[in-house]
Symmetry: C2
């Protein structure tokens, strides 16, 4: 069952619960990128997390929070990629069955990785309705517990632990930036900043070609995603009511960026830092670079959400 | 002027001399690669070194060892890439002039990086003769000191410090592996193992398409490189007499690998470890994988020589 609203204590407990299972990822800096753009950037490298993305934090917290009764029937979810691998591995480690619904357009690297963790993969049409419908059917048939990729308090509390670690390691951050897709990482990071570093502002980056979160925050209510078209394939989903409520309260601003800006930021990190980040992870850096006049001299933590890319389909 | 033969004390002094200027790079492991191939691999990540390669160690040691008189006339060298950047940056930091001869086939990324460090770049035909001839001319004209990319004891002592750090951090290594091109990294690593961890065997990986070191070691004398044709563009050069003498004495074996094996090893590191390594760096890993039956269960340190790749020309 899903846990309670992520209070300070709930996030602290999630951090303790998942600590034996997740990597405490490093925070890296690049003096050449800092000099180039006039900001002090601190990259929390969740691309080095297990399964190559922060999603393993939320999935681990959600799976470990299940009752024994629930564990018997397994877990189910839908995901375009990283959450799928995260749930599959978290389930495998706990010896429970996982049913993963993936859009048939997912990269073969991601589908194979999920199967490699022993999960059952069910492919569906690449839209929200087909994904949710297929998961509902599976749950009816198997009694599995749904682990929603983001609109779930146990997931949000798990994702919050990345920003919590960043705050503990790097003092006096002016800003924390994350990408926003469904809003799990953003809402969790915003709560961690609120509880553990209240003077830090939280700002998201979002692809202009998938800007539902930007428009939702402007309008004050959830605006559904237009058919998104972005290289940042982790950010195709729409906000949920739980993530949006937190984002409305605790996120100051969403900065939208073009595809060209995303690719340039991704390339900058690959070339200067020699680490592999996926396009979604380049979105908050692109947003910081776009805002560099305003952000001049600021200490900015950026959560690098993941490093799972299909090397056969690079944008360079 | 070039320093003395790299004794234990000379390497210890080089380590102290360059310590304030170079990164103490991390040693990373990948449980998934270890499981996949049945070895315990420890990667010394010189791709995170300044200028993105171990070459900065040797260049820094050579530049810092110059007399004040020599510093006035500047330094000159020829290099297909990383050594060029290394000498350029080491010279810049010491406020001395650098003349860098580069083959006209060098990647634009590398040429621009060298110019970015304020060095004067002189392009020449892509062969050893043209490179050496052009450098000779420059030295005659300017009085600059030659910093040979590998056949130079100050360079060898500097490169030796990477293996020294690896040995200090990871105890009881059975094997240390490096790539071999001109032999600077290999000879330095072999000396560090000999002095600081004599029970550790040193083995090199070399592209079969540029196997002069393999053939030289077989024959007991330097065999010139056939026109090399390999993606491992850091390994196109031939051994020098100084590096060969050390390699003959202290290197047990050279394992040659195909282009396909190099690309597969490179891709494995990119996908599983989320770090960017250049093709030359994948050569010792490819050699370890090729030898995995023999190396089963061994503790193997691999020096990841660099991470400078032209992202527009990837082999995936």
């Amino acid at each position: 069952m899903e846990g309670p609203y992520p209070s300070k204590q709930v996030i602290e407990e999630a951090a303790k619960r998942i600590a034996p299972f997740v990597h405490h990822t490093p925070v890296l800096s690049s003096s050449s990128i800092n000099t180039l753009h006039g900001m002090d950037l601190f990259f929390k490298c969740e691309n080095f997390q297990k399964i190559g993305a922060f999603k393993y934090r939320g999935a681990t917290n959600a799976v470990l929070s299940l009752s024994n009764e629930e564990k018997k029937n397994g877990v189910a979810t839908h995901s375009s990629g990283n959450h799928a691998q995260a749930v599959a591995l978290a389930a495998k480690i706990n010896n429970i069955k996982a049913y993963i619904v993936m859009p048939e357009t997912s990269s073969s690297v991601k589908i194979n990785a999920v199967r490699g963790y022993g999960a059952e993969v069910i492919l569906c049409a690449p839209n929200q309705q087909a994904r949710e419908g297929t998961v509902d059917e599976i749950i009816k048939k198997t009694g599995a517990t749904l682990i929603h990729p983001y609109n779930n308090y146990s997931i949000i509390a798990g994702q919050a632990t990345a920003a919590k670690e960043l705050i503990e390691e790097i003092k006096n951050l002016d800003i924390i930036m994350t990408p926003v897709g469904g809003g799990g990482l953003l809402s969790g990071s915003a709560l961690s900043a609120h509880y553990f570093s209240p003077q830090t502002t939280v700002i998201a980056g979002e692809p202009a070609n998938a800007d539902d979160a930007y428009r939702s925050l402007q309008k004050g209510e959830i605006v559904p995603e237009n058919p998104p078209s972005t290289i940042a394939d982790g950010l195709l989903t729409s906000l949920g009511d739980k993530t949006f409520d937190i984002i409305k309260k605790h996120v100051k601003e969403i900065v939208t960026v073009s595809e060209e800006e995303i690719i340039a930021a991704m390339r900058l990190v690959w070339e200067r830092m020699k680490i592999i980040i996926e396009p979604s992870s380049a979105v908050p850096l692109a947003a910081a670079i776009k805002s560099k006049e305003r952000f001049k001299g600021k200490r900015i933590g950026i959560i690098i959400s993941g490093g799972n890319v299909d090397l056969s389909k690079l944008p360079f």
